[in-house]
């Protein structure tokens, strides 16, 4: 099991005109092993910068990324990473898409497809293994994208607004599905969303970020029992937590947030 810790991450960009933009300032985030942690914040709060740095696609100006105490700042391929765009390759079947990580790692075709078929079957994509992405609904595509991330066999998963483009019904289904999957596999998840309810419903801990400069302005422990049922959103505790999260966001500088 692997926990993720982000220590005092700062990222400054120099613009073409010579100005300095602080995309991320002194961010501290702790994601204990096997936990589900969310980050909420308006556009421009540095969430994507934070994710790029954790994923090793960008280097911080200062600070460190730790996986189980090991410094892995600037290392690519240590964590699973998923975006709002499903990024499925249109010329590949679902099966050929989800095995991409194993293929890149040099695992033989039979082995990788054997693993993938079992997971696709169990997580509701069994009938779609031979289909092409263009034939799938948005929800199904996101499921395939998440399974592709799972199949990279990383303990830590970064999910960057994975359900942001889905309609409300599909999104609710996907949240259930994700919680099941997380429950089964015991992954350490760091999840970014604009949606406060989604963050509170899914997480153990919610971090609140604010823009310009991007920084962490609050941390909220979600002490709702697990496993959670969708009806939990009407409980008093849920409503209180949601109000607290909104409050933290409101005290952050301007920006648009969906409640």
């Amino acid at each position: 099991m692997t926990g993720l810790a982000v220590e005092h991450l700062t990222r400054r960009f120099t613009t073409a005109e010579g100005g300095v933009v602080v995309a991320l300032e002194d961010a501290v985030v702790d994601v204990p092993s096997g936990s589900f942690t969310s980050i909420i914040g308006p556009s421009g709060c540095g969430k994507s910068t934070l994710f790029s740095i954790i994923a090793g696609l960008d280097r911080p100006t200062g600070g460190r990324v730790l996986l189980d105490e090991e410094d892995c700042t600037g290392q690519q391929g240590r964590v699973g990473y998923m975006l709002q765009k499903d990024l499925l390759l249109p010329w590949r079947t679902v099966l050929a898409n989800v095995v991409l990580g194993l293929e890149v790692a040099g695992v033989g075709r039979r082995e990788r497809e054997g693993i993938a078929r079992r997971l696709l079957q169990h997580y509701g994509l069994g009938d779609f293994a031979g289909r092409y992405p263009a034939e799938l609904s948005g929800g199904m595509r996101q499921r395939a994208a998440l399974l592709r991330t799972i199949l990279t066999n990383r303990q830590v998963l970064l999910l960057d607004e994975p359900f942001g483009a889905l309609d409300a019904f599909t999104r609710a289904q996907m949240q259930e599905w994700l919680l099941d999957l997380w429950d089964d596999l015991g992954k350490t998840v760091l999840f970014v969303t604009h949606d406060i309810e989604e963050a509170v419903y899914l997480s153990d801990v919610v971090y609140v970020m604010s823009p310009r400069p991007g920084r962490v302005v609050g941390r909220l422990e979600i002490d709702l029992d697990r496993p959670r049922k969708p009806s939990v959103v009407t409980s008093r505790r849920f409503v209180e937590l949601r109000a607290q999260a909104l409050d933290l966001l409101d005290h952050a500088p301007a920006g648009r947030v969906a409640a």
């Binding site: 994923a55 090793g56 696609l57 690519q76 391929g77 964590v79 699973g80 990473y81 975006l83 765009k85 990024l87 390759l89 249109p90 010329w91 991409l100 990580g101 293929e103 890149v104 790692a105 092409y132 992405p133 263009a134 592709r148 990279t152």
Partner: protein, 301 residues
């Protein structure tokens, strides 16, 4: 909200009244100035076209064109010495096929075209794809490629024929020159269209640059390459013909050139007809390849 409209002190209320009067005025003007809608019947459902109508009309158009030309030439409306006439062209064509070397010439031009097309495509695609590997190299090379693109390459023909001789290699070189730049720029457009998020996704699953190239860049670029083939096949044919104009011992281009210098207008037309047929065949083949290929990609466009 069922709450009554907020009542705020004086000015706001007056403002609201004023603005609603403004809206009422505007609506009255709108009413006054808009012409009443004219009733038009809904369009009738399109009647199914008789299946053979379009082909029949096409044949008719061809008959009118060719027949008109024949009549105009025979009645002296156009001078048959300069313009020839269909019956004469047909007779010349038959003679050229049975007694002349038209078939060999066609094979010669066809080979030069296909060779130049193949070489130009391979080299052009390789150059275009190579731009993916280094942004600096691409930036340095791009203006040269664009300059070569802008240059009228047909003007190079005399030099090419001088250097490579009047054999087939100069024709292949001309065809290649026309194909290579267009395909290189076209492939480069494809390379530039690669979604950077896809590249990042692959990097995040641990792919090397070579793997990103093979699994994303090449597949993304292929449809661009294939669409480019329809353009470049025509260019290859033009290149080969111009090469033959400048100096050759065989080929349809040489035949046309020779016919021109001896005032055999009918033979020129025979050459043009052969080239048109050749061009249509090549175009149809490339088009069929493109359709099958794009269908196999499952890219919804």
């Amino acid at each position: 909200m069922s709450a009554p409209t907020q009542t705020r002190p004086g000015s706001t209320v007056e403002g609201r009244v004023a603005s609603s009067a403004e809206v009422r005025d505007a609506m009255q003007d709108l009413e006054r100035l808009t012409p009443p809608p004219r009733a038009r019947p809904a369009p009738a459902a399109p009647r199914p076209e008789p299946r053979l109508l379009v082909p029949a009309l096409r044949v008719l158009a061809l008959v009118v064109l060719v027949g008109g030309w024949e009549v105009a030439a025979r009645t002296g409306v156009v001078d048959p010495f300069f313009y020839s006439m269909p019956s004469q062209i047909w007779a010349t064509g038959v003679t050229a096929v049975t007694e002349g070397t038209v078939l060999l010439d066609t094979a010669y031009t066809f080979s030069a075209t296909l060779l130049g097309f193949a070489i130009g495509t391979v080299v052009g695609v390789a150059v275009g794809l190579s731009f993916w590997w280094s942004r600096r190299y691409a930036a340095v090379a791009e203006p040269f490629v664009v300059a070569f693109e802008a240059m009228p390459k047909l003007a190079l023909a005399p030099i090419v024929v001088l250097v490579l001789g009047i054999g087939i290699s100069s024709k292949v070189a001309m065809a290649t020159a026309l194909v290579v730049v267009v395909q290189a720029l076209n492939t480069y457009s494809g390379v530039k269209s690669v979604d950077p998020d896809l590249t990042r996704m692959l990097a995040s699953v641990g792919a090397s640059r070579r793997q990103v190239f093979a699994k994303v860049v090449v597949p993304t670029t292929l449809p661009w390459v294939v669409s480019g083939l329809r353009v470049t096949i025509g260019l290859a044919l033009s290149g080969a013909i111009v090469g033959e104009y400048i100096g050759a011992t065989q080929g349809i281009g040489r035949m046309i050139q020779y016919a021109g210098s001896t005032y055999e207008i009918s033979l020129i037309w025979v050459g043009i007809a052969v080239l048109a047929a050749l061009s249509m065949v090549l175009y149809a083949v490339v088009g069929a390849v493109e359709r099958r290929f794009l269908a196999s990609l499952h890219v919804s466009r």
